[in-house]
Symmetry: C2
Subunit: 455 residues, 2 copies
């Protein structure tokens, strides 16, 4: 890293904003993937103008620049593969405005998802994206990766819940896009273009988020099925009627077995397939909604359907799903975390295909997750060096299966480094070329997060 | 138009697909704006490959190419300002697939919005965008302009209701973007970038649309208020509670007066401000929702609140809103149709500002429309040459007012020709430059719909 670049950084940014200590560099070398690459410097901006100065300095010296929030990405999206500077946004964590009348909040990117939800709760609102990493991940990271979670089935992903952005493009120019209104038709939608662009087009410095009023009540159901096909028939029937659940989660036989063995006291049913169904709404509306969903869930092959009568029963029903996370961690240190997505009606073929894949490559694979969106976490759980090798050999076949089922390779984790080589499977060359054209328009010197997303 | 270009067109497209007759050219010279420009030729493609051939021919000869559906745009978006070719998509009107299990439909762009809704109804679904021009406008036009309508307040605009597209970029390359799934995180969102791009980036040849289950029941309320401020306080309160209406429409005093005078028998109330509120959902859930909305609507300044008990009463309540369209047409042939949008809480300032504008420029202006989204149709109704001139003089002040209120210049009609010069009011120069960069990446020779959207 040239001295004149570092001098420029120190001159453009306030004292304490630039660090080249070994400790800071090491702390910004990895995320929740297994990738690791040391940056040459770490910058902690506290306001938009500093981000402009930073991008301009990096551009002038052709230094790679990688944005980072909580570092919870599982794809390597925030690992500085080409070295250079990591911009850590955690000091830009202010909630600038909560505006219930207009159903919006204006925030800096470094606020954590959970801190935002806690600030919104007294106003009777929430922000829809609810990734499992909510206590640690930032809104900026959610925007960069188009994060979501179980409630996306009713409330949408990050992309569906943002109105406008302020950002600095790779060319060093600050800009605003989108609106403070819930409707607009004023040219190209740069806001939703930036969502999911994984820091390769621009660094987001402020976001105007769309809020949703908190439902007044929630009801939980759990259903087990003779086989996956039956469970998925139920999913399709549930999604084809108007009482859309706010969560519709699936666990396959191996997921249930792992959870049961790891936590025998959690009451995890021994079944081939399980659905967790959550409904929300006004209290007087929920009986009807539960009845409608219950009726849709009662397909040939249903084994048992339970409706929680109180909070204790609700907790008991969710225990199986909660136990699974710990069970996977206990099963192996080498979990490969995938999040493929297929049209809901193709889920049986996906789950069957994954089972065959597990048998063919002799590696344990669990399938579970957001069935209402057709978005399953297909987690490979290799336990030793041989299984790790076989698991990696199975991955291209998993992605090919998903594409053959009209699905795609990521529902909510994004591409980063780990899925980059698979992008040509998911998208035609002409589409990737258009994406490269957009990249060049925003970041003509390719300084922003090089080596990510686009092959 | 060079002969060798016409020869190439005839050679690349089937017999009957290319017309240079005076009648066809005249029929494609205008839309629902007052603009008029004669194309040199009209092409009626029937499949994707023909659109590729057409774009390539136009690119090779640098001939302007303007896509057109039903021609209902009020902004001149489909008027061929630079001549060249108009591509009329009305012969690509097939509904290729209706897939209730996956809540999606695959259609060609030339199908009308209404024909699609009729095909979906027996499956228990609808497509959310519901512009007033639904019987004539096409899905392709809805996508191009990010159209919506009264139900966007609950179900979103076109952009929120599309999953994937097939298209031909201005560079002549066909591509697919998006997915057949309700979630994805695979790079830049070209799908939502094309929505609202008004045919300046690519021509859409197929769309995968997100469907919504039809609600089982609907209830209608009508409330009148002492003044606009009171009505808008009610709007903000209604939008801040979880029972989101499926329509929340506003009419100002002049709109009510026009409707009343034009159709005395319609029972239009003499009031300063009126709200039409529609709620949908499961029948047993509606009592609670109506009660919640009724309570939110009862603010200081409420004059009267009526709840329709049956279909006849529902029709009677909507009669005022229906009468308004005819009343405006009867009032003048020279209506200037605007659709500005502000944050809901700024609506009183907008309506007051419009009233001052009308007084200052001595031209009648009615304000009404989609209050739940802060999206008002501010229609200037000049009756003679002098008033027309004064109306046009008032427009820049209207847009400046909207921007000062944190709003923007179009909610659902788009930019086209008529608002193009006002784009720098709505967006910073850096943002417009990024849009131009995207335009260059898709359409390097600038053949697609020149003179539209970007100043």
């Amino acid at each position: 890293m040239p001295t004149d670049f570092l001098d420029l950084l120190h001159a453009s940014l306030p004292p304490g904003a630039v660090s080249t200590t070994e400790a800071d560099r090491r702390a910004h070398a990895c995320d929740n993937s297994r990738l690791n690459a040391l940056p040459d410097a770490v910058v902690f901006p506290t306001e938009h103008a500093q981000v402009e100065a930073l991008v301009r300095a990096c551009r002038a010296h052709r230094v790679p620049l990688t944005a980072r929030g909580g570092g919870t990405s599982s794809t390597g999206a925030s690992v500085p593969m080409a070295g250079g500077v990591v911009a850590n946004f955690m000091r830009m964590d202010r909630i600038l405005r909560i505006d219930p009348d207009n159903r919006l909040a204006v925030v800096e990117p470094g606020v954590t998802n959970e801190a935002l939800q806690q600030a919104l709760a007294p106003h009777g609102f929430f922000w829809a994206p609810d990734p499992g990493s909510a206590p640690w991940c930032t809104v900026g990271g959610n925007l960069a990766c188009n994060a979501s979670g179980p409630h996306a089935v009713k409330y949408g992903s990050t992309r569906d819940n943002v109105l406008g952005l302020r950002a600095v493009a790779g060319n060093g120019e600050g800009f605003r896009c989108g609106t403070q209104t819930t409707k607009s038709a004023i040219g190209y939608d740069l806001t939703r273009l930036l969502v999911g662009s994984e820091g390769t087009l621009a660094l987001i410095t402020e976001a105007t988020l769309k809020l949703t009023p908190k439902p007044l009540a929630v009801r939980t159901l759990r259903a087990t099925y003779r086989d996956t096909a039956a469970a998925v028939r139920a999913v399709a029937r549930i999604m084809a009627q108007p009482a859309t659940p706010c969560a519709l989660e699936f666990m396959d036989a191996l997921a249930l077995k792992l959870a049961r063995e790891h936590q025998p006291e959690a009451g995890v049913p021994a079944a081939e397939a399980l659905l967790m169904i959550e409904l929300d709404g006004a209290p007087d509306a929920l009986d009807g909604a539960v009845a409608a969903v219950e009726s849709a869930a009662r397909v040939e092959g249903l084994v048992q359907l339970e409706v929680a009568r109180d909070e204790a029963q609700t907790r008991a029903l969710w225990a199986a799903r909660k136990a699974l996370s710990f069970a996977q961690r206990a099963a192996t240190q080498h979990k490969i975390n995938e999040d493929v997505v297929v049209p809901v009606s193709r889920l049986p073929e996906l789950v069957d295909g994954v089972r065959q894949l597990a048998a063919r490559h002799a590696v344990p694979i669990v399938s579970f997750g957001h069935a209402g969106n057709g978005n399953l976490h297909v987690n490979l759980l290799p336990r030793d060096v041989d299984e790790i090798e076989r698991a990696h050999a199975a991955l291209p076949e998993l992605f090919a299966l998903v594409i053959a089922l009209d699905g795609t390779i990521s529902g909510e984790h994004g591409i980063g480094v780990v899925k980059r080589e698979f992008m040509p499977l998911a998208l035609p060359a002409t589409t990737l070329d258009l994406m490269r054209g957009i990249k060049a328009a925003f970041d003509p010197d390719g300084i922003l997060n090089p080596g990510k997303l686009l092959p």
